[in-house]
């Protein structure tokens, strides 16, 4: 399979807009270099923080932009060109405003501070991105596999993940093993459009 793959285009760069907007000066003062970026988007504020301070930062947000009742919306991982990223979203209940908090980590030893104690809803998505991207979540009470079976090797949502064709859970795929017998002819190249 890998040799058939079209050359991957460059990954989208992490955050194009560095810098802190004036509205978030108080947070910048408190977190210094650990607040990497803070900007306003059409959806709401968007922050990038150091992964080790993620939980502290969200706790600080609960005194400013998240002071109102808000919903824990989502957490997920993204692989960027040079870094792994986790994205947390919160939504105000009263009006359309989505607060996004990101953290960038190196690809070799990624680790991030868990929000699972503050927001119990973060327990499952953190387990999910931990197994899918190989990110260590520190301070999480329960780090078993969530969607993948126990003992699964590798992190499937990483771009360099190779599917384990000899995995005991997978039935042999005749199409993959002997395509000529199944199709009656050599398989056509992938990526061709009808």
């Amino acid at each position: 399979m890998p040799e058939q793959e079209a050359p991957q285009p460059a990954a989208p760069e992490a955050e194009r807009v560095p810098g802190i907007e004036p509205a978030f000066a108080a947070l910048a003062e408190r977190f210094g270099d650990e607040l990497v970026a803070a900007r306003k988007t059409a959806d709401g504020p968007d922050f990038t923080v150091a992964p080790a301070r993620l939980a502290d930062f969200v706790a600080a947000l609960r005194e400013s932009v998240l002071a109102e009742p808000h919903l824990f919306v989502d957490a997920c991982g993204v692989e960027r060109e040079t870094a792994l990223e986790v994205v947390y979203r919160f939504s105000l209940v009263s009006r359309r405003e989505i607060v996004t908090v990101r953290a960038h980590m190196p690809k070799d030893k990624p680790a991030v501070a868990s929000l699972a104690v503050m927001y119990p809803g973060a327990r499952w998505p953190e387990r999910e991105y931990a197994e899918m991207f190989g990110i260590t979540v520190t301070g999480h009470p329960d780090m078993r596999h969530l969607l993948l079976p126990e003992g699964w090797v590798g992190h499937p949502l990483r771009k360099d993940y190779v599917y384990p064709l000899d995995h005991p859970y997978l039935a042999p795929d005749p199409l993959r093993e002997d395509p000529v017998r199944v199709l009656g002819h050599a398989p056509e190249g992938e990526g061709e459009e009808s």
Binding site: A11, P69, L71, D74, R89, V93, I98, H145, L147, L157
Partner: protein, 370 residues
Amino acid sequence: MNEANVGTTDQLIVNMGPQHPSTHGVLRVALTLDGERVVSADPDIGYLHSSMEKIAERLDYRQYISYTDRFDYLGAMCNEWVFVRAVERLAGIEVTPRCEHIRLLMAELNRLASHLLYFGAMGIDTGATTVFLYCFRERELILDLFEWVSGQRLLYNFLRVGGLRNDLPDGWVEQCHAAMDALASRVDEYDTLLSENRIFIARTRGIGAITAEEALAYGFSGPCLRGCGVPYDLRRVDGYSLYPELDFEVCVEEGGDCLSRHMVRSRELRESIKIVRQVLARLPEGEVNVPVPRRLKVEPGEVYERIESPRGELGCYLVSDGSDKPWRMHWRAPSFYNLAPLDRLCRGHWMADMVAVIASTDIVLGDVDR
């Protein structure tokens, strides 16, 4: 018998599922029981995990639409809608007014079909089998409409980036009016059969209660959250599509228990009928498709688009690298977050109440596992 054990109780671990019919799919819950009381409930998910997010990275935007149907298979139109909305927002595509009306119409019909199935399942899980048959009879009216317009009864593949697969067939609008009339006259009947049934109320009132603060921290959304007294309905909060122009009520109940979640859905059936009738009355003429390149490439960037699906906040996070395939796509699946607090909801209740709690969160396991 060991003399020392006489008069003491043991905790027992019981597997509920994955083949238990009332777990609404393949959900396994490892229950720790003290007699009949639930000490803890540990949901084990992933049986239906199908790598929806990885698959998206290998397919172009057009091809992926048929996959969106398949995770929350009871809200397929809503899944398609949020996905095409996300792609259209990234690519800067505006759809025609007629297309927007038809999409909204489909989403609301899908909400009706999904809530009807919920009604039936809730009834059968709490021992009321009659309402199940009635709800499936009425759901058939809506599935027939879907079949007529898209050729499919469950997984429609009807929406396209920039439009729809086809326009409404002749006579469809009249049939839809007739279906709404039939349904409206029967919703009260469901309430008398189920919602006002003394046994049903006894099985659901005060069961699986959660406060609004906890529900928000758990990421509860949709009818589950509105059952806790939080008026969080994206159709009003975001006011996307044509919803700001439509007259409907956000249904909120205060109890936070199974009965409140049930009553929210019961009232939402009526509101959705109201919405469908309004949209049918104002359906504009015109084209349903705008020209979109066959091989759609969108600018590098990312977008989080969300709509109110029958189960709650359905979000689609799309990261583009400028090619014709998503670089990363992530589903914010409402069932995933609605199932997560199961331990909190069930702790201390009888084991038999588990069934009512799971049914009242209206989860779809395909949506949980994606």
